[in-house]
């Protein structure tokens, strides 16, 4: 080890990352980078962010041991980092509050954001309401259909939700449309990017805002008796995972495992497991792994989870994979839904379908390591938004009884 792997500053992580965007956005990204570099060492900014984390989000989030669930995971001890208990119901609020505060410092009055499952959109709409910012959310039309409750939540919060009907009508198209809006309105508008991907400074900045997950969890685990043998988190773009990994990066004994959405199975081609089934390419402003054809056209991804249904992945994950510091496992829809059912039935905790992918990874790893192993799983969000979809999966909707 020549140095710490934590808090890598970008713009490049190994050979991945960078900033591949239209010239029209370069000045805004430079301005954002500058503002963030100043804010991160300004006690007025960090103090306000800490205050909001404590008094608004409800941090620190607790760690819950789940022994009845763990009995199905080879008898390993399993602890959940409860980001589902945050205000708005997921880890997304950690990042959004930071970027909304930055928007105010930039003197801008309007925020835009993309959303997949709607969690980042809801968090952004929430911060916009709190800080009196105009808010426009881009959401793939297919996602507005499978996550209609979150669409209503965003509208109740005062945001305008624009369904994106182009391309695959999912997260990736929502990001394209948000970039187009930003190019046209960059004078007044800040793009509150939801995941640890995109052009610099987003991968490093979003990671920093999510880092609180692993900083808290590491202390909590030490207080409970020691570092875990592994940390598991689901990976779409990868913001909760990178936030869950960062403070553990220098703990060589801790395995870091990102659980990607394998959809119907990587071998079927209908999946979103980018690090398992992709190769290097440029998408949405950075060089990372993407799902693409031989020419470089992005391939449609598939996952039961709208939040993981993305054919790219944050560049720092690609780097951590390339140097062998983190592992990335594919988890199918069926495995994730079984883990969803199991946690709900054994512990009375309804996870987001996204987070259920990490739970499925824990079941697999627990069976591999057996009793004596300690696993920390980030429960990135709660499953309220997924009730209808899960009920349909398990044939529990009343009209389907007959």
């Amino acid at each position: 080890m020549t140095g710490s792997l934590q808090s890598a500053p970008g713009p490049f992580f190994g050979e991945f990352g960078g900033r591949f965007v239209p010239e029209a956005l370069m000045a805004a990204l430079d301005e954002l980078t500058d503002a963030y570099d100043k804010a991160r060492i300004d006690p007025a900014f960090t103090g306000e962010l800490e205050r909001l984390a404590r008094d608004y989000t409800g941090r620190p989030s607790i760690v819950t041991e789940v022994p009845r669930f763990a009995a199905h995971a080879g008898g390993a001890r399993v602890f959940l980092k409860r980001e589902d208990l945050n205000h708005t119901g997921s880890h997304k609020i950690n990042n959004v509050l930071g970027q909304a505060l930055l928007t105010k410092r930039l003197g801008k009055s309007r925020v835009i954001a993309e959303t997949g499952a709607g969690q980042h959109g809801v968090a952004t709409a929430t911060a916009a309401a709190l800080m009196d910012l105009e808010c426009v959310i881009y959401m793939g039309e297919e996602d507005t259909e499978r996550q209609s409750l979150n669409v209503a939540r965003m509208r109740l919060l005062g945001a305008e939700v624009i369904p994106v009907a182009t391309g695959t009508r999912t997260l990736r198209d929502a990001i394209n449309e948000a970039f187009r809006d930003w190019v046209a309105n960059v004078d007044t508008t800040n793009y509150v990017f939801g995941t640890a991907a995109g052009p610099h400074p987003f991968p490093a900045m979003v990671r920093d805002f999510q880092r609180v997950i692993s900083v808290e969890a590491r202390e909590q685990m030490l207080a409970l008796g020691g570092l875990p043998d592994a940390v598991l988190a689901c990976v779409g773009g990868g913001s909760n995972a990178i936030g869950s990994f960062d403070a553990f990066l220098d703990d060589a004994s801790v395995r870091l495992i990102g659980c990607e959405a394998a959809g119907d199975g990587v071998e079927t081609g209908r999946h979103a497991a980018t690090l398992t089934g992709g190769r290097p390419g440029i998408l949405h402003g950075s060089l990372s792994y993407i799902l693409q054809d031989a020419d470089g056209q992005t391939q449609p991804s598939h996952s039961i989870s709208a939040g993981l249904d993305y054919p790219g992945v944050g560049p720092e994950h690609t780097w951590l994979s390339s140097i062998g510091r983190a592992e990335y496992w594919p988890v199918t829809d069926a495995e994730a839904m079984e883990a969803f059912r199991l946690l709900t039935r054994t512990e009375g905790i309804l996870p987001a379908i996204e987070s259920a992918h990490a739970l499925a990874g824990a079941i697999r790893l627990g069976k591999e390591l057996g009793p004596g192993a300690t696993l920390l799983v980030t429960l990135s969000g709660r499953g309220d938004k997924d009730v209808e979809q899960a009920a349909r999966w398990f044939d529990m909707l009343p009209e389907e009884d007959a």
């Binding site: 960078g18 900033r19 591949f20 965007v21 239209p22 010239e23 029209a24 956005l25 370069m26 000045a27 805004a28 430079d30 182009t166 391309g167 990736r172 394209n176 970039f179 187009r180 190019v183 046209a184 309105n185 960059v186 004078d187 390419g281 440029i282 998408l283 949405h284 402003g285 060089l287 993407i290 693409q292 031989a294 020419d295 470089g296 056209q297 992005t298």
Partner: protein, 262 residues
């Protein structure tokens, strides 16, 4: 000097701006798109921008997005773009390619430049690649003697204007409006300002793109720029049914526009 700068200079010697026409290859199908590019040349385009469609065109508006989606659905490939480049060269205009970065990266920066050169192409416009982001591309293009055409915008800072104009060969692609490709009712003073700033930063040739759709606008822009770039209006004229005569009329209107500037 290159085929591209020679052509722009020849237009200037005629006392007019060049007309640069864009079409995506494969829309509405490969054969018709290549026929349409020949129409561009016959009806008065000096330079033709061949666009290999890309799945995630973040700098394009709805008309070009739609065309790209149609072309991809029908199976267009990047190879088809080089076939189109050759056809444009044979028809007598200077072909350039406008490509998003990932298509170039997947082919390989060197191979993309070499294949373009072999097909008779003169340069590449890179909407999502700035010179500081891709020194490998600049090196590959220089080695193959392919022009690197970079964009500048109203938001471009003085420092970036210099960096971009320094790295540019052929012409600087100035976008007078903030926003994606498409038609605009008015271009405003920003167009002149961006051209002036690019010239102050050392650009010898500046063409204006994004927003020009009528002969009148072309005449206005031709008054202060070296070339007028038209895409959306041509794609719309061609349409899903591939109407070559409607396209020919639109090109003729713009070609008259660049020749009528004061």
């Amino acid at each position: 000097m290159s085929a591209l700068t020679d052509r722009l200079d020849a237009c200037k010697a005629e006392g007019r701006a060049a007309l640069v026409g864009y079409l995506p290859v494969g829309y509405p199908d490969v054969e018709t798109s290549i026929a349409a590019m020949r129409v561009l040349v016959e009806a008065g385009c000096d330079v033709v921008e061949v666009g290999p469609p890309y799945s995630d065109p973040v700098l394009d508006g709805p008309v070009i997005q739609h065309a790209a989606a149609v072309a991809l659905e029908r199976g267009v490939t990047v190879d088809d773009a080089f076939v189109a480049v050759r056809a444009v060269a044979e028809a007598g205009a200077v072909p350039v390619v406008m490509s998003y970065a990932n298509l170039m990266l997947q082919r390989g920066w060197d191979r993309f430049a070499a294949d373009l050169r072999a097909a008779g192409g003169a340069g590449v416009i890179t909407p999502d690649l700035t010179p500081d982001a891709a020194p490998e591309w600049v090196d590959a293009a220089r080695a193959a003697e392919v022009d690197t055409i970079f964009l500048v915008a109203p938001s471009t800072t003085r420092e970036r204007m210099r960096l971009t104009c320094d790295a540019t060969r052929g012409f600087v692609y100035a976008t007078p409006l903030m926003g994606v490709t498409g038609e605009r009712a008015a271009l405003g003073d920003a167009a002149e300002r961006v051209v002036r700033e690019a010239r102050e930063a050392g650009a010898e040739r500046v063409c204006i793109g994004v927003g020009v759709s009528t002969g009148e606008q072309a005449a206005e822009v031709a008054g202060f720029a070296d070339g007028v770039i038209v895409g959306t209006a041509f794609v719309r004229a061609l349409g899903d049914e591939g109407d070559l005569e409607r396209l020919r009329a639109k090109v003729a209107e713009l070609a008259a526009g660049v020749r009528s500037a004061a």
